[in-house]
């Protein structure tokens, strides 16, 4: 089935449509189509296979979220967008590791993605604060929040898993946990001195 999709040579428009509709097959086809390009770029710019995997997956996640939000326009080839984001992310990593910053060896044309990068970095910062807050929250609250809000388990699943007598109890517990997490989060957040209003 996947081979068939690849052989049909899906167009960029097909991929965008597929990702919008959460098509696993199209995600897989897209992933396999462009990974070699990023691998080649990273391996020839002082990176490892593991680096290529990280940078590529981050770029795909950026693209995926943009498409899901309806915030993506095909102004360039999909390939160019992925390459440009991956390239920019890698440049950032190279700089932060103080590795050699000789000019990058390029294999594709690229477009400016500075705005994208800023958004990604800001989001990463927020995720980091969330992670810290979840650790501070401790168990069982952490698991409760992760299962409900992040894994999408239902209240009934939660009552069963955590041994609450009914889903109303689970709901109460979940709210207490969420309130505490929120408090910790915004305290950590103000430490970082960032603004969430944009």
């Amino acid at each position: 089935m996947l081979k068939k999709i690849i052989n049909q040579e899906l167009s960029d428009t097909d991929f965008v449509e597929g990702l919008k509709n959460n098509s696993e097959l199209q995600l897989e086809a897209l992933y396999k189509l462009h990974f070699p390009m990023v691998l080649q770029f990273i391996l020839n710019n002082s990176g490892t296979v593991e680096d290529a995997k990280d940078v590529y997956q981050e770029s795909i996640i950026v693209l995926y979220n943009k498409i899901q939000k309806g915030d993506f326009e095909l102004v360039s080839k999909l390939k160019t967008f992925i390459y440009s984001v991956a390239r920019r992310l890698w440049l950032k990593k190279l700089n932060s590791k103080h590795r050699k910053t000789s000019p990058l060896r390029d294999f594709e044309e690229s477009i400016p993605v500075e705005d994208e990068l800023l958004k990604v970095l800001e989001k990463e910062e927020h995720f980091k604060i969330l992670q810290i807050s979840l650790e501070k929250l401790g168990q069982p609250c952490k698991a409760l929040i992760e299962d409900f809000y992040m894994q999408g388990l239902s209240m009934d699943d939660l009552s069963e898993k955590f041994g609450y007598t009914n889903s109303e109890n689970a709901k109460n517990q979940k709210y207490k946990c969420l309130l505490r997490l929120k408090k910790i989060f915004f305290m950590e957040f103000s430490k970082e001195n960032t603004d969430y209003n944009h």
Partner: protein, 123 residues
């Protein structure tokens, strides 16, 4: 405390789109004239979106890892390194065979030399 829980529940159902049409219209009407509530909704929306997004990203990452594991990674690496000539690739693939052949060659030569010098002892 209970009041706050109630408001949070309200906001959560609002920002996650779980309100009925009528409920939503009512909520938005209240919201219009309540700046404190607007602030709370904004904060809660930001916070919940972050939680949902973190969860969605973690699930997506799992999916991508599964796809990644099915890639023929060695083949891809080989085809990415233009500095490796065809000869290098052949060498990498057949080096064991070449090593065995070479050692057999050495053995053959040394046996030949051996018999050339001491061969008269046999026969």
């Amino acid at each position: 405390m209970d009041m706050e829980k109630e408001v949070l529940d309200w906001i959560e159902r609002y920002v996650t789109g779980q309100m009925s049409e009528e409920e939503r219209r009512h909520f938005e009407l209240v919201l219009q004239n309540d700046e404190a509530l607007q602030e709370k909704v904004g904060q809660q929306k930001f916070f919940l979106s972050l939680l949902f997004e973190a969860g969605a990203n973690a699930r997506l990452k799992n999916q991508l890892n599964k796809i990644h594991d099915s890639l023929p990674i060695e083949e891809l690496i080989d085809s990415c390194k233009p500095q490796h000539s065809k000869l290098y690739v052949l060498w990498k693939r057949y080096r064991v065979a070449v090593a065995i052949a070479a050692s057999m060659g050495v053995l053959a030569v040394s046996l030949t030399l051996h018999y050339m010098y001491y061969g008269s002892g046999i026969g």
